[in-house]
């Protein structure tokens, strides 16, 4: 009992600390995964899952098909070996966006909320999948570095 307490305190002293030193001019995450947190699908059969994301106010991210070869497309992926295979992904069309400083610029972007339709095939059982969304966000004057966020979904194959 006493030993457990000692170990617990030591572990807390070592790892139970929060990082308060990182700062950014853009507060919070540029893109946030909203839902679903859990889906139940037929095991071994392709199933559609609609994944909902929210983009921070004032920011946009490139669509899956940006109009410039150098711009980074938004992509969704599921790493291999998690018991869930990504069969197909359908991305929404981007909205046309013009940077105020250049009325001739035509970007294809997502803003506010967007939905990615994923067709997945799950093995039987419970799989905690950490899928990934890769994107690059900007506002009308600045761009943030490309980023990959985790998309955590509990997939139950029955």
């Amino acid at each position: 009992m006493a030993m457990g307490l000692v170990l617990g305190l030591a572990a807390l002293a070592a790892i139970g600390q929060t990082d308060s030193t990182s700062r950014s001019l853009v507060n919070g995450a540029a893109v946030e995964y909203m839902f679903p947190e859990q889906v139940t699908v037929a095991a071994g059969k392709p199933s559609d899952v609609a994944l909902h994301f929210r983009i921070a106010k004032g920011l946009h991210i490139n669509s899956h098909t940006p109009k410039d070869e150098f711009l980074i497309p938004t992509t969704f992926s599921i790493p291999d070996g998690l018991g869930v295979h990504l069969d197909k992904v359908s991305y929404p069309d981007g909205k046309e966006f013009t940077l105020p400083a250049d009325p001739t610029s035509k970007l294809s972007v997502y803003t506010d909320e967007f939905v990615i339709q994923a067709k997945i095939v799950a093995e039987a059982g419970n799989h905690l999948v950490e899928a990934k969304l890769h994107f690059q966000a900007c506002d009308k004057n600045i761009c943030l570095p490309p980023k990959t966020i985790a998309v955590a979904i509990d997939v139950i194959g029955k």
Partner: protein
């Protein structure tokens, strides 16, 4: 005897646990201090009391520009120090940065206009994709994209790569484009974050030139 051994083992185990906790705590604090020092150069958006407009304030303003030596697209090392006596605009950009593509033609024109007075631009590519020289294929791909982009935008000034390696010294470079205007003595006289205007950039070039 057996009881004594058990007690001694338990005491040793507790001491070892505390020693490990102390070491982990020390490491954590050391890393936190390093992060704090690195972020100390970060700028902040401050609302201008008079206009109500947000203004970027950098702690590097009025201080010596952090020294660096980076490779250009031909593989030659280019150092900021070698431009002492000139006014230099250190412009951080990226191939994927749409506002940078609007700004760059202005920079090309302003460089032509002020080069004779001793003005130069160093365009430092900051891809922010975590690709290092150890991943040769990805590094070469990045380099090819930077060269292609620089050619497309007619960047006649030195284009340097691996700006990410000096990001901490220049405030983290969490937002692009980012421009540091350095005077002939190597002091940062102005900093601009994000796309501003050609007139604003020209104003700060004049400041760096001492006009």
């Amino acid at each position: 005897m057996r009881r004594n051994t058990l007690v001694l083992s338990a005491v040793l185990f507790i001491f070892a646990t505390f020693a490990w906790a102390g070491w982990a705590n020390f490491e954590y604090r050391k890393q936190a201090t390093e992060r704090l020092l690195a972020s100390a150069a970060k700028g902040e958006l401050v609302v201008d009391a008079a206009t109500g407009a947000p203004e970027y304030v950098s702690p590097l303003k009025g201080k010596p520009a952090p020294a660096f030596a980076l490779e250009d697209l031909s593989g030659k090392k280019v150092s900021l120090d070698s431009y002492k006596g000139k006014a230099v605009l250190v412009n951080f950009w990226a191939t994927w940065c749409a506002p940078c593509k609007i700004e760059t033609p202005w920079l090309v024109e302003l460089r032509d206009q002020y080069a004779a007075q001793g003005f130069e631009i160093l365009g430092v590519s900051t891809e922010g994709d975590g690709v290092g020289m150890d991943d040769k294929a990805a590094w070469d791909k990045d380099k090819a994209a930077i060269a292609h982009s620089a050619q497309q935008m007619h960047m006649q000034y030195p284009v340097l790569i691996d700006g990410d390696s000096i990001a901490n010294q220049y405030g983290g470079l969490d937002e692009l484009p980012m421009s540091f205007f350095v005077d002939r003595n190597g002091t940062v006289v102005a900093v601009q974050m994000g796309l501003t205007s050609k007139a604003d950039i020209e104003g700060d070039i004049k400041k760096a030139l001492g006009n």
